[in-house]
């Protein structure tokens, strides 16, 4: 039983990591849209974020699970599950990164402009590192959320920790024991994500990124 739950936890972790990784990439691609001069693109960004964030994860999961085959793209529950997590997290990540950019001190931007840095160097050397630093705590926050959100995927027959727990309960009726162990696994995974975030923060602090704007 414990072994089965452990395997389930590994699946959960795999799904969460995949969702976070793809979601981060998609989020990073989306964030710049919110800052471009072109109004329709900015509107597109906000509409995407609005709808993705405003849809319950369960609804999004069902929509994609049943929607993909309708589009003649059915690759099984795991692909569908990863797509769900990617889309869902991308909206949150994009907003987190946007917040990071907005947190940059005006004088830091003006210093960069007054040095006459070319746009790419400006983005790579100043905006990206500062924005990502400011975005780190809320980023970790969303990551923790995603680990737990993956449990929703059990509804669309993605076998992971929650679905494993439900199967075992159906056979053994040990409701509280099994759910307790599953909860403990979720806790451990979230705790790990949180620790990783702290480590990253401490590393960056040595590289000059202090908590406050100094």
């Amino acid at each position: 039983m414990l072994q089965l739950l452990l395997i389930g936890a590994c699946y959960t972790l795999g799904l969460a990591v995949a969702g976070i990784a793809f979601g981060t990439v998609l989020g990073l691609l989306l964030t710049p849209l919110s800052f471009v001069r072109c109004r329709p693109l900015r509107a597109l960004y906000h509409v995407y974020v609005f709808f993705t964030r405003g849809t319950p994860l369960l609804v999004l999961a069902l929509l994609i699970f049943y929607g993909l085959p309708a589009l003649n793209f059915s690759q099984g529950p795991y692909v569908a599950g990863t797509i769900v997590l990617t889309i869902y997290s991308s909206a949150f990540f994009a907003e987190v990164f946007r917040g990071g950019v907005l947190a940059i001190q005006r004088t830091h931007l003006e210093s960069g402009r007054s040095l006459g840095l070319p746009p790419l160097a400006f983005l790579r050397r100043i905006i990206a590192p500062l924005a990502l630093r400011y975005a780190l705590p809320p980023y970790v926050n969303v990551c923790v959320m995603m680990v737990k959100a993956s449990s929703i995927l059990s509804i669309i027959s993605v076998w992971e920790l929650t679905l494993a727990a439900r199967e075992i309960i159906e056979r053994t009726l040990l409701v509280f024991t099994v759910l307790g162990i599953a909860a403990a696994f979720y806790f451990l995974m979230c705790f790990g994500v949180d620790r990783l975030g702290r480590l990253a923060e401490r590393y960056l602090m040595r590289r000059g990124f202090v908590g406050e704007h100094a």
Binding site: T107, L115, L117, P118, R133, L204, G208, F209, H213
Partner: protein
């Protein structure tokens, strides 16, 4: 030489912050801008290197018109980005605070401009940065991050970073206002050394004693206009404009 003619600027709120500024700054000249807060002195300084847009008027550097182009039919448009960047590289600006990039050491801050804007070879840039940091008295702190430096040291690095671009003019916006009193001296010392090198400078300041010491001319701004301008002794000891008299009474 910088010449400013008929500069007007209105904030989006409708406030007319600059109402026809005329000012010429010669090569090697140091001009201080003084005035009450809200008089437009900082805005004027920021217009010079186009951190602020302005609505009418002209700024020239060595005769060439900056920032805007007037096309056929008198349509005024911003210059394209690369042209603006090239012009900005000829001016250094130091702000009141938060000048340095927190994720870069003093050395990296100074190297940034020459490396990416001038695209000069790394060894040469490093050499230049080292000399500049030694010059502002921070040869021993080249590897320090901004948070490890005092406010005065940060401002000196900021000056070195601006100098690394070999600017034709240096713009200072109240650069000692956020410093503890005991740190002001070391920053002003660096500016003094620039005066000796005949660097063209425009300085927004509240330190009247310092302005008197280093400026060739002081301009007093009131409600978006330069109401009096002249050599420090004349302007500070024998003010004519009633607003200036009032200002000096309050400052002393």
């Amino acid at each position: 030489m910088i010449s400013i003619e008929g500069l007007h600027k209105r904030f989006p709120s409708g406030l007319e912050v600059l109402r026809g500024i005329n000012l010429t700054i010669g090569d090697g000249e140091v001009v201080s801008l003084i005035g009450r807060s809200g008089s437009g002195k900082t805005t004027l300084l920021r217009c010079i290197n186009f951190l602020e847009e302005y609505d009418a008027g002209e700024i020239r550097l060595d005769g060439a018109v900056l920032w805007y182009r007037t096309g056929v039919g008198g349509v005024r448009t911003r210059m394209p980005g690369p042209a603006i960047r090239a012009l900005r590289q000829q001016m250094g600006i130091v702000f009141q605070q938060f000048n340095l990039f927190p994720h870069m050491t003093a050395m990296e801050n100074v190297c940034l401009g020459p490396t990416f804007a001038h695209k000069r070879p790394a060894a040469e840039v490093k050499d230049l940065a080292q000399r500049l940091l030694e010059r502002v008295g921070l040869g021993a702190k080249m590897r320090s991050y901004p948070y490890q430096l005092s406010g005065g040291e940060q401002q000196r690095v900021a000056i070195a970073r601006a100098l690394a671009m070999r600017p034709k003019v240096m713009l200072f916006d109240e650069i000692t206002s956020a410093l503890d009193p005991e740190l002001v001296g070391e920053v002003l010392e660096v500016i003094r050394s620039l005066v000796l090198e005949r660097m063209m400078m425009v300085i927004v300041t509240h330190e009247l004693r310092f302005a008197r010491e280093i400026s060739h001319r002081i301009a007093f701004l009131s409600k978006g206009q330069i109401t009096e301008i002249g050599p420090p002794a004349e302007l500070l000891d024998n003010p004519q404009d009633p607003a200036l008299k009032e200002f000096l009474r309050h400052v002393r």
